[in-house]
């Protein structure tokens, strides 16, 4: 499908802020230094589950330079987005009705690393020393780490309501989806297969650890914090502190990644704000890397039981998922397990239990519910194809979704194009072989996976001002987590206004200067805020046509807060990944040799940064497949691998070349037809790697990560 060529959109464009990023001039939250600023540190629980009998802070307070200490005894602020019934994190009303409330400091503490106290002092070394002078008397309680174990009757109840996390109505019920009748479907199936898959907790591990600087002028708080959503962070802060929104200013000029764990406000923001208020001076609160690993959140671990029925032609008749998601002891997100929506099937049942455990809290990490679910279901289906003696690509083409939930049409549909194009570019027929057929100690194998991911439209805002000097200033509430939103927004504005990119100035990342933005999460910025930029540009063009260009001290100002819909159709981005691996059967080592990623994310606004998104997503997915894990000691409930080395994130030497192919289409919605991209690269990467390993060694690896010891284990 060929799209019309545009002047700015669609051309690979270096980031408008690249110069600041390569010269060290970009100002991240931790680089902010205010006069008279104090430093804060957090003392964290050294038990997975315990009642705090007593806290003695007198030793800390006696240390010269220590200003104050907060604990659950003198701070009872509720952190609204830290625990939300049903994990409906963006619905303000539910934060008010949530029964399982999370305080900034909780007693009992429910995970190793939960904040117990916060100290502010004249410098970070004194603050650190003060933490060692606080004595906490704990009464330890039994703990439970695994999401299935947590539902056994003998397991400790982490909340009085039990360990099934409460839904949006405060009921202890699983999340259920049904269509057709699975029991009937299994009865009429030719063959039925069952299996169990597990995925582990992996951390976002963004390079910039959480840090914030809070400063009060009178009754107004200014918070420099790395947040993916300045607007939702401001509102969360105001609600939790009981002050009006306009009394909070959130500034985030640059941020060092987040992948979901810097959305909304975090407890660190509240702690810094309260300490700054208490001591009457600006406060910088820094989290160490270990604290960031265990104290914020990562991807929820899952246990997935599948039952799949097919007819003799390998066509799906029934599909059932019973899943358990480990949320840690607080519910920050849904705990859903994505995947059943990928298949066309008359009878489907998905029952997923979000479960409380005493692990680190789970929450958003780049496509929150998809990589783990897609790994489980696409491994399962790859296995069904194998057992039905079918080529996995043929099986997918036969059974993949063609309408949303077999019912509602997609706004356009290019999934089949993605798969066929990928198979061709990868030379699937040449590389794929009978599983385990490769001889010799080093075995090659090929695997494929595919995806659809939501790409909804929705509300956001933009303002554009045209001055008499011909400069167009675009005001948007984005923060540019690293995806390149500042450049994308500028390109969209330049295109719609039909002016060179160099005439655009951008104002971003400051709630006092920018209008509401949906926040950089859920791959929504290009679609939603980009849509608002287009609407504002159209309004500005209309004003110019009516009033002429501004002269002298005059200016024209246009704004838009559109809330578009896709007319009842479901917007999704599509993609397919093809992976070739090499497994050293003597060492258990897996190397990715070839990786082809085909994506349709609609119109690609900036091919340069879009390629970075897909490559980065796929590479993170390979790490999740092969080695990333926050590993716990079962007996003590302590995390053992909280850090880059321990959690084994991808490095330069691990990273293969990712070939990216964009199939561009225009469904008539979104800015110039753009769809979501930020999460698209990771969602099916894990499944593709797993399937390639199966093809190499002929053994199905059902638990993540597919580490060396596990591979050697099945081959032994």
């Amino acid at each position: 499908m060929s799209l019309i060529t545009r002047k700015t959109v669609g051309h690979p464009t270096p980031r408008i802020d690249a110069l600041e990023r390569v010269t060290g001039k970009a100002t991240y939250s931790g680089d902010v230094h205010l006069p008279g600023m104090l430093y804060a540190r957090i003392l964290r629980s050294s038990h997975a589950h315990a009642n705090i009998r007593q806290i003695d802070v007198s030793g800390a307070l006696a240390l010269p330079g220590v200003k104050t200490v907060l604990t659950h005894e003198n701070c009872t602020v509720v952190w609204g987005s830290g625990s939300v019934s049903g994990g409906r994190q963006y619905i303000d009303e539910i934060k008010k009705t949530t029964r399982q409330k999370r305080y900034v400091f909780n007693n009992p503490v429910r995970f190793f690393g939960e904040p117990v106290a916060a100290v502010v002092a004249t410098n970070r070394h004194i603050a650190e020393e003060a933490l060692r002078l606080i004595t906490v008397e704990y009464e330890t309680l039994p703990h439970v780490l695994d999401q299935e174990d947590a539902l056994r009757p003998e397991s400790v109840k982490i909340w009085p309501d039990g360990n099934i996390s409460l839904n949006a109505k405060n009921e202890a019920e699983p999340e259920v989806y049904r269509r057709g009748n699975v029991e009937e479907g299994f009865r009429t199936s030719e063959q039925v297969f069952e299996d169990r898959y597990t995925t582990t907790y992996v951390h976002n591990a963004q390079m910039e650890p959480r840090v914030c600087v809070a400063s009060w002028e009178g009754d107004k708080l200014t918070l420099y914090t790395p947040t993916q959503g300045t607007s939702n962070c401001r509102h969360d802060m105001a609600r939790d502190l009981g002050i009006p929104d306009e009394k909070v200013r959130v500034i985030c000029k640059y941020m060092g990644g987040g992948f979901g764990n810097k959305n909304q406000n975090q407890d660190a923001d509240l702690i810094a704000a309260m300490l700054a208020k208490e001591v009457g001076a600006p406060v910088k609160l820094e989290l160490t890397r270990k604290e960031d690993f265990i104290g914020v959140h990562g991807r929820w671990p899952t246990t997935q039981y599948y039952k799949v029925g097919v007819n003799r032609d390998g066509v799906l008749q029934a599909l059932q998922l019973r899943g358990y998601s480990g949320m840690g002891p607080y519910r920050k997100n849904s705990g859903a397990i994505g995947g059943v929506e990928l298949y066309q099937c008359p009878n489907v049942e998905s029952v997923v239990y979000p479960v409380y455990t005493n692990r680190a809290v789970s929450g958003n990490y780049r496509a929150p519910e998809f990589p783990q679910g897609f790994f489980g279901i696409q491994s399962m289906m790859d296995d069904v194809a194998y057992k039905m003696k079918m080529d996995p690509v043929e099986f997918v083409l036969k059974n993949m979704t063609r309408k949303s939930n077999d019912d509602v049409p997609y706004s356009n549909y290019t999934l089949e194009d993605c798969i066929r194009r990928g198979a061709e570019a990868f030379e699937w027929k040449k590389r794929w072989h009978a599983p385990g057929a490769d001889t010799g100690p080093i075995k090659r194998g090929a695997g494929m996976s595919f995806m659809t991911i939501r790409s909804p439209l929705g509300q956001s805002s933009a303002v554009i001002r045209l001055d008499s000097n011909g400069r167009y200033t675009v005001f948007v509430g984005v923060t540019d987590i690293g995806a390149g939103a500042k450049t994308t927004m500028s390109m969209i504005a330049a295109e719609e206004l039909d002016v060179p990119l160099s005439s655009i100035d951008l104002v971003w990342g400051d709630t006092d200067r920018c209008p509401f933005s949906v926040g950089e999460s859920g791959s929504r910025t290009t679609d939603m805020t980009g849509g608002a930029v287009i609407e504002a540009a159209r309004d500005l063009k209309k004003q110019i046509a009516e009033k002429g260009l501004p002269k002298g001290e005059n200016a024209l100002i246009a704004s838009a807060s559109p809330n578009p819909t896709s007319d009842g159709k479901v917007r999704k981005a599509f993609g397919a990944h093809f992976v070739e691996v090499e497994v050293d059967t003597e060492l258990g080592r897996v190397r990715v040799l070839k990786y082809v990623a085909v994506h349709d994310s609609g119109r690609i606004i900036n091919p340069l940064t879009a390629a970075s998104q897909i490559k980065g997503g796929a590479t993170q997915g390979i790490g999740m497949a092969l080695h990333e894990d926050l590993f716990y000691d079962r007996r003590s409930g302590q995390p053992l691998t909280a850090g880059y080395y321990g959690a084994r994130v991808m490095t330069h030497l691990d990273a293969p070349e990712i070939e990216v192919i964009f199939i561009e289409s225009d469904d008539g919605y979104g800015p110039f037809g753009a769809k979501c991209i930020g999460e698209a690269g990771i969602v099916h990467a894990v499944a593709g790697v797993g399937n390639a390993i199966f093809n190499a060694i002929g053994h199905r690896m059902k638990d993540l990560p597919i580490s060396r010891d596990r591979i050697l284990g099945v081959l032994a």
């Binding site: 390569v22 060290g24 991240y28 330079g65 104002v507 490095t651």
Partner: protein, 242 residues
């Protein structure tokens, strides 16, 4: 604590670090007002804490400064010299975001004490641009979209700089090996390697390595960057180095 050697004043500091801030004079101004981080930071040592007077060269300028013995080099650079381009990602020698050159070799500045830099020469990302023009590595990082979030970028640049200084024409695998101590969680490894390979092929790189400063016009280089931003059609989106 030796008061005698504690002789650096704010004025001397600002004069001495002129080279470090030279980049700002050619870099386009950041959008928005001057932020607090643009102000130099000159916090001194705490009373009663063991400290040592050291001399070191930072980005070509010599400094004498009293440092607390517990300060890391990263802390000294960021909090006391205001060179916040050096980032702290883990503070425990795992991620490489804090990489600087110590006597020309890449080191983790979080894992070096400031006192160990006594008598030595430190180069940070702020010292990469010369005479107002970008290092070829910086230019290549921009063109190949090396930085996504940018937090690891300074460290990646300094490791790459250390590599190209000792090996001006590395293979892609040598680039990966030299930079594998620099984690990029955005995982833009492909683009970083492409950028380093491109810079290694830039004739200016070898000239720089031999200490030759070209007379090319600084303004021309910056305006070329601006032009590329305006309507670039040349950058490659896929494939590349390996």
């Amino acid at each position: 604590m030796s008061k005698r050697k504690h002789d650096i004043s704010r004025r001397q500091f600002l004069e001495g670090s002129g080279a470090a801030f030279a980049v700002a004079t050619v870099a386009p101004a950041l959008a928005g007002p001057l932020s607090a981080a643009d102000l130099p930071v000159t916090e001194g040592v705490s009373p009663g804490v063991p400290s040592t007077a050291i001399r070191l060269v930072v980005n070509g300028a010599e400094h004498r400064i009293e440092v607390e013995d517990r300060w890391t080099l990263a802390e000294l650079l960021r909090d006391h010299f205001g060179l916040t381009g050096t980032k702290i990602g883990c503070d425990r020698g795992e991620c490489g975001a804090c990489t600087v050159l110590l006597d020309g070799k890449p080191v983790y500045s979080c894992s070096n004490l400031a006192v160990w830099a006594d008598g030595r020469e430190v180069q940070t990302v702020e010292g990469l641009a010369h005479d107002g023009h970008l290092d070829p590595l910086q230019q290549a990082f921009i063109e190949h979209d090396g930085p996504q979030c940018g937090f690891c970028t300074s460290g990646q640049l300094m490791s790459a700089k250390g590599l190209l200084t000792r090996n001006p024409h590395p293979s892609p695998h040598e680039v990966q090996a030299a930079m594998t101590g620099n984690i990029c969680r955005c995982s833009n490894y492909n683009h970083y390697v492409e950028a380093v390979m491109a810079a290694s092929k830039n004739p200016k790189t070898s000239k720089r390595a031999s200490g030759h400063s070209t007379a090319s016009n600084a303004a021309a280089e910056v305006s070329a960057t601006k032009r590329r931003r305006g309507a670039s059609t040349s950058a490659s989106t896929e494939g590349g180095a390996r």
